[in-house]
Symmetry: C2
Subunit: 327 residues, 2 copies
């Protein structure tokens, strides 16, 4: 698998890749979309046509006597390719939930690389959503796995080649630096968890601090500081933030603390968030906010009827147009 290797554009100094914010802004403009397709495939809830090996989309069928992990991984690749083919033109990126691939073991990790390649072929940026966070030396290993490559005595081992990763800041700013360095040197980005979309997010993130503000405010300030040196000509930084669409009341205040950050906004649809409430995210421009939708697209037929592909396509186009209209 070859890493994407973003090439230098007109705005970048010689030898440096185009900054992530500029790459993203260009892609958003070109595709007229801020929509991110979230792929978190559950082997028991794949689109029915993904279970038919003769469909042939995305990968070779696994032999009928292959082990369950191999057969399930093949089906996950087919499903993901079908979804990408259905809604990709309405999106600017895919967000791959690493947990859903890891649970199929080595076969799942191979499937992850195949799905990333299929997304790239469809012109989409690839966000690896693993929410990794570890001490420096381990964070550097995650950077090798997802963004860069790993030197070995037998030659370099390419990583996933993601255009961006999600990262957990609980271990402090110092532990995000290896991810940022690896991302910045190749025109990729990171999205730091600041205010997540789940019901229990307030448990820790909304704890009021003695010094003022709450934990998520503190994390937002960390994002702004870490991203200061990674802002491209678009005005957008390569250190972004995850801010759940389920907490729209916090969005304007967090945006004010992180004026240059791209906000990755999950939680629309199944989790209750509404695109209409996300306008503050787009203050620095349309690429300032990315609306991530997973089950709301892949499971659209369960609410809207029709084939999975047709329902997903219609819902993606509706959400794309809605977000685009907010600026």
């Amino acid at each position: 698998m070859e890493a994407p290797g973003p090439t230098s554009g007109t705005g970048a100094p010689p030898g440096r890749p185009l900054a992530f914010g500029d790459r993203l802004a260009t892609a958003v403009d070109a595709r007229c979309s801020q929509l991110v397709l979230g792929l978190d495939p559950d082997p028991m809830r794949l689109w029915p046509s993904a279970l038919e090996p003769q469909h042939g989309v995305g990968s070779e069928p696994a032999a009928p006597d292959a082990v369950p992990a191999e057969r399930a991984a093949r089906a996950v690749v087919r499903h993901s390719a079908l979804v990408i083919d259905a809604v990709g033109t309405a999106c600017v990126a895919v967000k791959l939930q690493l947990a859903c691939f890891e649970r199929l073991g080595a076969a799942g990790w191979a499937a992850l690389a195949e799905v990333a390649a299929h997304a790239r072929d469809a012109g989409l940026l690839v966000l690896a959503d693993g929410k990794r966070g570890d001490i420096g030396v381990s964070a550097a290993a995650y950077a090798q796995a997802l963004l860069a490559s790993t030197p070995t005595p037998y030659g370099e081992v390419a990583g996933l080649g993601a255009d961006a990763v999600t990262a957990n800041p609980l271990l402090g700013a110092e532990t995000l630096v290896p991810l940022i360095d690896a991302a910045r040197s190749r025109g990729a980005g990171i999205f730091v968890l600041v205010r997540t979309s789940n019901p229990g997010a307030a448990d820790v993130q909304a704890q009021a601090l003695a010094a003022g503000g709450d934990v998520s405010d503190r994390l937002a300030d960390m994002v702004a500081t870490l991203g200061a040196d990674g802002t491209g000509g678009s005005g957008l930084s390569d250190v972004g933030a995850v801010v759940g669409a389920t907490a729209p009341g916090r969005l304007a205040a967090l945006r004010a603390r992180m004026p240059a950050a791209v906000l990755l906004l999950p939680g629309v649809g199944a989790q209750g968030g509404r695109v209409e409430d996300l306008a503050p995210a787009f203050a620095p421009g349309r690429a300032g906010g990315l609306v991530a939708v997973s089950r709301g697209l892949v499971g659209a037929h369960e609410r809207l009827g029709g084939t999975p592909a047709d329902a997903a396509r219609a819902e993606a186009e509706r959400l794309r147009a809605l977000a685009w209209s907010l600026v």
Copy 2:
């Protein structure tokens, strides 16, 4: 790969596995050790004999024309097996740093399963150190990957079968529950990050809260609450905590907030922590604290001289005896 499937012991109700705390206490007693071997293999810093395929420990050699990832993964398995064979008798568990396997892609994930199996064969508990933390549905997928198994239309896919996992609590208590449920139902445990061992840990974890205490105190209270229903006859819970050996000044206070938690204590050696300072961890008994050492064992020959195996064995025995003497 078969999950370990801890069998019911005398202390467990019929049909329920022995609680993690009891399994751990039994293992600590049987091995006279609270030492955890941390394995975070860097392909460029493996023990020299791991690069010689003819050694034959741990796995088949990869063919000379295999891709770099396959060859590096074979060497990582051999290295890990050599280290386990050298120091395993002085330890009660291994802690596998998932980042170091992930960076070799699918081959690395296969290597992870092989190393876990080798550790189990050596009588060691297996801790999967991935520090995962995600919204509920994704946390459940990580639980399937590391602790349980995944249903698919082609049959059940076994996970790694770890005896315990590390978890990141930034997304709140609700998101730890799927991991705890999966662990508890099979006699496994989880270790929640409370105060990590890295220099930047204070950035977020030591922020003073308006309600009193700091973020790590709040996380410790969360651990105590989540673990209340998971305490076995040993008095130890299946919800433990990661508390860095590099912050000994915090250890007694955090122990007081989590009287039944097993404390996983990384940071001894290379990171500056000292076993001598860890006595408060062992207040509930010897299995109340697990001393995790990675580079301090695997790289012992760099400081002490001799062969890597002899130096690691001597250092492991020294640290084992030192920790054992603290109660």
